[in-house]
């Protein structure tokens, strides 16, 4: 799968959305697109030119880590995306209680009316737990299977 390093303008567009959604000012690092939707964050010391050069020599399987997915122009941050930007997130945070956090981490949607129709940052105490999508009646869960809590 080919990698595409996002240009300054493309990155700015994502930053603008994140600013509107969550009050985030700046994404610290390079953004690399893999496939149509998945965006990776790379904070290593290689410049875009150096990465491109390296890619000509070796197959690069991953550059950085999965950071966000762009869904209809709206970025949905991954668990790590929310954790990395923790200190910049100012709004659209949904604070979970213990029971809800457990439900969330098992991968269940939450039947809660938030009055919003957008992505929300899910938070329990100090833990950032990725993004959920609020709609009329519920918050849709995006916790990947491999990261779900298995309650016995």
């Amino acid at each position: 799968m080919t990698l595409k390093i996002l240009s300054i303008n493309e990155k700015k567009k994502i930053e603008k959305s994140l600013k509107e959604q969550f009050g985030i000012d700046k994404i610290p690092g390079l953004l690399v697109k893999r496939g149509e939707e998945r965006i990776f964050l790379f904070q290593g010391s290689l410049s875009p030119k150096e990465i491109t050069e390296l890619e000509k020599t070796i197959l690069l399987e991953r550059v950085g880590i999965y950071f966000a997915k762009i869904i209809r122009d709206e970025p949905k941050l991954s668990i790590e995306g929310t954790q990395i930007l923790k200190d910049q997130i100012k709004k659209n945070i949904f604070e979970l209680n213990k029971e809800q956090a457990e439900q969330w981490m098992t991968g269940q949607e939450l039947n809660i009316k938030t009055g919003k129709r957008s992505f929300l940052i899910m938070k329990y105490k100090d833990d950032l737990l990725g993004c959920g999508k609020a709609s009329e009646e519920k918050i849709t869960n995006f916790i990947p299977k491999s990261r779900r809590l298995k309650i016995k």
């Binding site: 010391s45 390296l54 197959l59 991953r62």
Partner: protein, 319 residues
């Protein structure tokens, strides 16, 4: 309870020869369950905070090495798989890692802004440890040949929030050759080589069944070639760690002896200091005599520290 496998007679014979009077103690410790150890992922949480959280869950935590507070042993009786199922693990606050497997990176001493190659990186325990030491700065190239293992590596890097790493999929020798053509060089290289895994018998008893001497000979050839290839892309003044999780001298001292002879005054073996008991490398095995410098290598036996077995050496490229 893990399934047990009978050790092969040749393996027993070799270990007896290697350990002499200590063989009995070795045999005894292999019957014991390995210690449950974790390494705090300092990219996401401090050791103090995690310790407090885990203690609040009722886990009894011991930090065995005072200079490495991120290393923890869970002394409580946990249910099978509980370490991997815990929320703190799912959120990437710690990595379940065997104590001996943390040692190569303690020897490597990664520093912020360095360029480091982890040549045989999956599943990523050491890559994530390197990234934590580097505070996600500089660059790590984490290479792995098998696609299935790359997926595990990528998932571990993601869970641990490692953002300074590029994953490559290439046969190790070929990767080094390509990088050499591009004059791409590293400050440090970790060659945690594919090996026969004799040191992992406590956690992976199936190794007994897979063990055979032919594999050791084949791996020994590969390990020499991997080292030779890696040396070519190490900066002058740079360091390379050669480690395995096996006791077989053909995969350990024989490689070191080969490297010393092959690179002569271009390479220098460095002293190693570790927070656990190490035995020196052996300079004689069966009919073979190795260069005396192999004694600077570090042999870690399960019975000495209640860990798995490991072999670690450190070299500096001087020319």
């Amino acid at each position: 309870m893990k399934k047990s496998y009978p050790p092969k007679p040749l393996f027993i014979e070799r270990m007896k020869l290697l350990l002499g009077k200590d063989f009995k103690e070795y045999e005894e410790i292999l019957k014991k369950e390995p210690v449950r150890s974790i390494r705090v992922n300092t990219l996401k949480i401090s050791p103090e905070k995690l310790k407090k959280r885990l203690e609040e869950k009722g886990w009894k935590i011991n930090q065995p090495w005072k200079d490495y507070p991120e290393v923890m042993i869970i002394e409580s009786n946990l249910e099978p798989g509980e370490l991997g199922r815990a929320l703190e693990h799912l959120l990437g606050y710690y990595y379940v890692q065997e104590l001996a497997s943390m040692l190569p990176i303690i020897v490597l001493k990664p520093k912020p802004n360095e360029t480091i190659l982890d040549l045989c990186a999956a599943p990523g325990s050491k890559t994530t440890q390197i990234a934590a030491e580097m505070k996600n700065t500089g660059l790590i190239i984490a290479n792995e040949i098998h696609l299935g293992r790359i997926k595990i590596l990528a998932s571990n890097l993601e869970r641990c929030g490692v953002t300074n790493t590029i994953i490559t999929r290439k046969e190790g020798r070929a990767l080094c050759k390509r990088l050499k053509q591009k004059d791409f060089k590293f400050d440090k290289i970790l060659l945690d080589a594919p090996c026969s895994g004799e040191g992992t018998l406590r956690s992976t008893p199936i190794t007994y069944q897979m063990w055979n001497f032919k594999t050791i000979r084949r791996l020994s050839r590969l390990q020499k070639q991997l080292f030779e290839a890696a040396f070519e892309i190490l900066k002058i003044g740079g360091e390379i760690i050669y480690s395995t999780c096996t006791h077989a001298p053909e995969e350990n001292e024989e490689i070191i002896d080969y490297v010393i002879k092959r690179f002569g005054d271009k390479i220098k073996m460095e002293e190693i200091s570790l927070p656990i008991k190490c035995r020196p490398g052996i300079s004689k095995w069966k009919d073979k005599e190795y260069d005396k410098k192999v004694k600077q290598a570090c042999r870690i036996y399960p019975q000495d520290n209640n860990t798995e077995g490991f072999f670690i050496t450190k070299f500096r490229r001087v020319k």
